[in-house]
Symmetry: C2
Subunit: 226 residues, 2 copies
């Protein structure tokens, strides 16, 4: 085994530039946060690998929620996810990132006006499908919710710790298929708590409806606390 | 819709540093390639999102292949994937990338000696589970094989075009579940060819064995052509 990082990133000039980029992002994230709070809005950053069911979760949320929400969608290409949400009556704004593997605070900032946040209670930001990079870029949201779907396997928490360490809530999605994929929800729950104690895990299925009530209760609790 | 890239990356100094990093990687990738050719080895870079079944494919390949192969494993953390392959008799070397979302040529170069390539016919490099970043970093391998599993959804080709444009072969994995996930293999085949004509798509299932023969035939053909 070899423990590595990008050797070129040991170059002091590269490190300096990267650190400046991250600092500028943090400043813009703080401005976003101030704006969300001004509007009494709870903002939630949804992160996961590709195809874990972020858009499907939001479709299910639209059917069951008693609060008004909007969505900022991040994808490398296509407006498909925003279109899916508009089809169920959700206000959605699509950001196309091109080659960028994550959203950043500036991109989110640009979506604020077009979305019309003042008429919303909750804002979801659906990040680019990627279980690594989005974890390192603050957007100004209040909470990070990380999705892990049962077909991806129950070994992913300790394999992608950078992401799971940032999670305020972990959602195990497609839990109706847990048995088929030999997916152990309790193991995931334990490993999440090992990385970050007190982080809850909710197992849910947009297909059967299992866990949706708990998910909505989590949001209600956060809105009351916020 | 808004089409974006990271605004900080428009800074000329940042661009210059990034370009230098990529150029240095290309030089190291070329050196890896020369080394693989010296040894008469076919080197294949396996890329996909998390949990698409890269390690499972290699386990299935180990059972059916008539060639000798080794594997360089890339993960942010843990040695689990290398352990799984060693358990089925495959020579595997684990690279732990820490926070890096992709392997680079230098990391692969360091694994060459410990693996003992001269006794192998094929080298697989299992990249970090990520459908974005690994596409932009050459490793010196001859071929890029991109996996897309049916639970991820058949909309991923056009949503992650940077990756699929690099594919010499696309493998649709877990195809035994295509119906359950309403996954249209023909649509994926068409969209792959739309991005990069002549790229074949093979649908397979490590569970049922479907497509494994075609996968081995593809490798045999490439070895003869190489």
């Amino acid at each position: 085994m070899s423990i590595e990082s990008n050797p070129h990133l040991n170059n002091p000039k590269t490190l300096e530039v990267m650190s400046r980029v991250l600092k500028a992002n943090d400043t813009e994230a703080a401005a976003n946060r101030a704006c969300f709070e001004q509007m009494g809005l709870l903002a939630i950053n949804l992160m996961s690998g590709p195809g874990s069911g972020k858009t499907t979760l939001l479709e299910a949320t639209a059917k069951a929620a008693d609060f008004r929400f909007g969505v900022i969608e991040g994808d490398l290409e296509t407006e498909r996810d925003a279109d899916r949400l508009r089809a169920v009556g959700v206000r959605a704004y699509q950001i196309v990132t091109g080659t960028s593997c994550h959203l950043n605070a500036k991109m989110v900032q640009k979506a604020i006006n077009p979305l019309g946040l003042d008429e919303l209670d909750v804002l979801f930001v659906e990040n680019v499908g990627n279980l690594v990079c989005p974890a390192s870029h603050e957007l100004g949201t209040h909470l990070n919710v990380v999705l892990l779907s049962t077909p991806e396997g129950d070994d992913k928490v300790l394999k992608y710790p950078v992401m799971f360490r940032k999670a305020d809530l972990v959602l195990v999605t497609k839990v109706d298929l847990a048995e088929h994929f030999d997916f152990d929800v309790q193991k995931v729950r334990r490993e999440v708590q090992q990385l970050r104690p007190d982080t809850p895990t909710i197992a849910l299925s947009a297909k059967t409806g299992e866990g949706i009530e708990q998910w909505l209760a989590f949001i209600a609790q956060q809105r009351n606390g916020a």
